[in-house]
């Protein structure tokens, strides 16, 4: 940018320094508290029971790099909706977090209508996070694409949308009926509920974080060993690629939590509950980020049975088996220079990785019903006559009860995740 420090630059530095000297007088008043502030309510003040579900309900699309096409017939799509509504109605949760609801707003309203038909009154709020290009009042450039996040809450909880907070992606903006999207966009749907019979408000959030080149510890260990043996020279670049996805999700978590903590400083909330598809596992850097941001993974404190793999190719027939055959272009690029034998070993490791059950959907809380007994189970595991569940993800159901005896009767299984960042809370 040219030669350093000449008289115009000195003039500018002087000007800027004068401005900087004047700035402190404009500084806002000091905050009394920099820690996140919640006022969790005593168990006696809260309802006898409270149930929360998070579920990625699958958009029903085949997604290409630039285009999407329906992956099921309209009849299949409607049948899947009814199957989902039936499972939700059977549990009658107080709050439901949904992801990949498609298309919006029609599908969100369809859940409300479907539950109403079963005598259950809910309110909905929603935020589109994949819209393609869509003109207000007109059809979208990519037909059938307008999916995103939904929160449903029982009518009496007075659900109100606070914001559709953009978490990442610069090129685009998705609204309910219009928008444009030139790259992947990620949002958080922020709302508040008021607990019946009280004035206590909780922040409730539905999210679906970035999905990139996903690979967990087993795959990285295997290909890392090849690198050590001198059989995979570009492993550091592959690792770098995967880390970019992880850093993007960390950035998304940071944006979300800054906003939530700002809201908690400005208005008194009793706590936060965040449900969603986070696209990371409990041994990833992102999980540690969530814990250090004062979020508590309910899985680690709940009484539960069985494993909680929400994305499970071994149990969920709806997970496309073709996905485990194709290797992503990022991986092909990095292995192109290796021997044919090494390439095959790496591809096989990737296929094994894609077939591995993973826990990537979570209910994170801070100050949410802290003294109630919490039991948790996998949700949406029921299948139709052909053996298909209603989504390619299983959800999570959290059941809070003031009566703690169910938690005392059933010992909590050991939790590997609870050892991450001990004492951070």
């Amino acid at each position: 940018m040219g030669r350093p420090l000449t008289w115009p630059a000195l003039l500018m530095s002087g000007f800027t320094m004068v401005t900087l000297l004047l700035l402190p007088s404009c500084a806002p008043l000091l905050p009394l508290q920099t820690e996140p502030v919640f006022a969790p309510s005593p168990a006696e003040a809260l309802p006898e029971s409270f149930t929360v579900v998070t579920w990625n309900v699958w958009h029903g699309l085949d997604t290409g790099e630039f285009w999407v096409t329906p992956a099921e017939s309209p009849e299949e799509n409607q049948a899947r909706l009814q199957h989902q509504v039936a499972q939700l109605a059977a549990e009658w949760p107080d709050v439901i977090f949904l992801q990949e609801v498609n298309p919006l707003p029609e599908r969100a309203l369809a859940y409300v209508e479907g539950l109403k038909a079963k005598g259950l009154a809910y309110r909905q709020v929603h935020q589109v996070d994949a819209c393609g290009i869509r003109r207000r009042g007109g059809p979208g450039l990519i037909p059938g694409l307008n999916n995103g996040l939904v929160i449903l809450a029982k009518e009496e909880l007075q659900l109100q949308k606070l914001d559709g907070l953009k978490l990442s992606g610069d090129l685009g903006q998705c609204e309910s009926g219009s928008g444009y999207q030139l790259e992947e966009l990620r949002y958080g749907l922020l709302a508040e509920i008021t607990v019946q019979g009280t004035t206590m408000k909780y922040l409730v959030v539905s999210v679906h974080l970035h999905s990139g080149f996903e690979a967990g510890t087993p795959f990285l260990s295997q290909v890392g060993a090849l690198y050590e043996q001198g059989r995979f020279a570009r492993y550091p670049w592959l690792q770098w690629n995967i880390e970019q996805s992880r850093l993007r999700r960390i950035g998304e978590l940071d944006v979300l939590m800054r906003d939530l903590y700002r809201r908690s400083r400005e208005k008194q909330y009793a706590g936060i509950v965040i449900g969603g598809d986070f696209n990371f596992e409990s041994d990833f850097l992102e999980y540690e980020e969530a814990v250090m941001l004062r979020l508590h993974d309910t899985y680690s404190s709940a009484t539960r049975t069985g494993d909680f793999s929400t994305a499970d190719p071994l149990r969920n027939a709806r997970i496309d088996p073709r996905a485990s055959l194709a290797t992503p272009k990022e991986l092909e690029r990095e292995i192109a220079g290796e021997s044919v034998e090494a390439q095959e070993v790496i591809r096989a490791a990737y296929r094994t990785e894609m077939a591995r059950p993973r826990r990537i959907d979570y209910l994170f809380v801070n100050g949410f019903f802290p003294d109630h007994c919490l039991r948790q189970e996998l949700f949406g595991t029921g299948t139709n006559a052909a053996g298909f569940p209603a989504s390619d993800h299983f959800g999570i159901l959290s059941r809070y009860t003031r009566d703690r005896s169910p938690c005392r009767q059933q010992a909590r299984p050991a939790d590997p995740a609870s050892s991450v960042a001990p004492g951070a809370r």
Binding site: P4, L5, P24, D254, Y261, E289
Partner: protein, 235 residues
């Protein structure tokens, strides 16, 4: 003269309009700067071609992280950045809480447009560290600055020839770029310290005495401590 003044005014306006995560309006803005600094650090320290940075960070006295460096130019050029400075404890390899700084610089030459980049500056000497503990630092004679080596398998050897007070790494949209510090003025942001730590504190209080704390910096400090082989303890 008139053209130069117009150019200066234009540049100040342009830089003022450029989005910056560090303009302190409330606590969230400072938290954003801390988060951005952490991501900037991770981008550099994990880059496959920055072996030198990874291996020499362990010997650095401190680290200045500038997540948003804005350069604007129309004959006269100006640079503006906000960032954080942290120092490393030689014994424990743990890193301090961050102190907040603002950097401004200028240049003259053939230039037009606005560019954004991110940068890290390794502070390699005690003299360099002490200079940042004062309220204002001007990069000029008496302080040496070098551009950090780029490439794999160069972690050793080059270190002896880089006897500089500061070693800079800069990146624009993922590609390595150069950062010119000559003539840059670095100013402490006392207002930011008061807001972030809830009390008026100086860089020596934060960086040396360790009398200011904010839970929000833990993730940044942990990332640095890990990268330099220190043991992080959650408190």
């Amino acid at each position: 003269m008139r053209a130069a003044c117009c150019a200066v005014i234009l540049l100040v306006v342009l830089i003022g309009l450029a989005p910056s995560p560090g303009v302190a309006e409330d606590l969230s803005d400072l938290q954003e700067l801390v988060d951005e600094a952490r991501l900037t650090f991770e981008h550099f320290v994990r880059h496959p071609d920055l072996d030198w940075l990874r291996s020499h960070l362990k010997g650095a006295k401190g680290l200045l992280i500038l997540p948003a460096v804005t350069k604007a130019g129309y004959v006269v050029g100006a640079t503006h950045a906000t960032g954080l400075f942290l120092v490393r404890d030689d014994e424990t390899n743990r890193w301090s809480e961050p102190a907040f700084y603002r950097a401004v610089g200028g240049s003259v030459g053939i230039q037009i447009g606005i560019a954004r980049s991110e940068a890290v500056v390794l502070v390699m000497t005690e003299r360099g560290k002490q200079s940042l503990l004062s309220s204002t630092l001007i990069f000029g004679p008496g302080l040496t600055v070098a551009v950090g080596p780029f490439g794999r398998s160069i972690s050793g050897g080059i270190s002896s020839s880089l006897a500089a007070d500061f070693v800079t790494y800069s990146s624009s949209r993922g590609a390595m770029a150069s950062l010119t510090l000559g003539g840059t003025v670095v100013v402490v942001r006392d207002d930011a310290h008061a807001l972030y730590y809830g009390k008026p504190v100086t860089p020596p209080d934060i960086l040396v005495a360790g009398t200011a704390h904010n839970w929000y910096s833990a993730r940044l400090r942990k990332a640095l401590t890990r990268a330099t082989g220190g043991q992080w303890e959650d408190r």
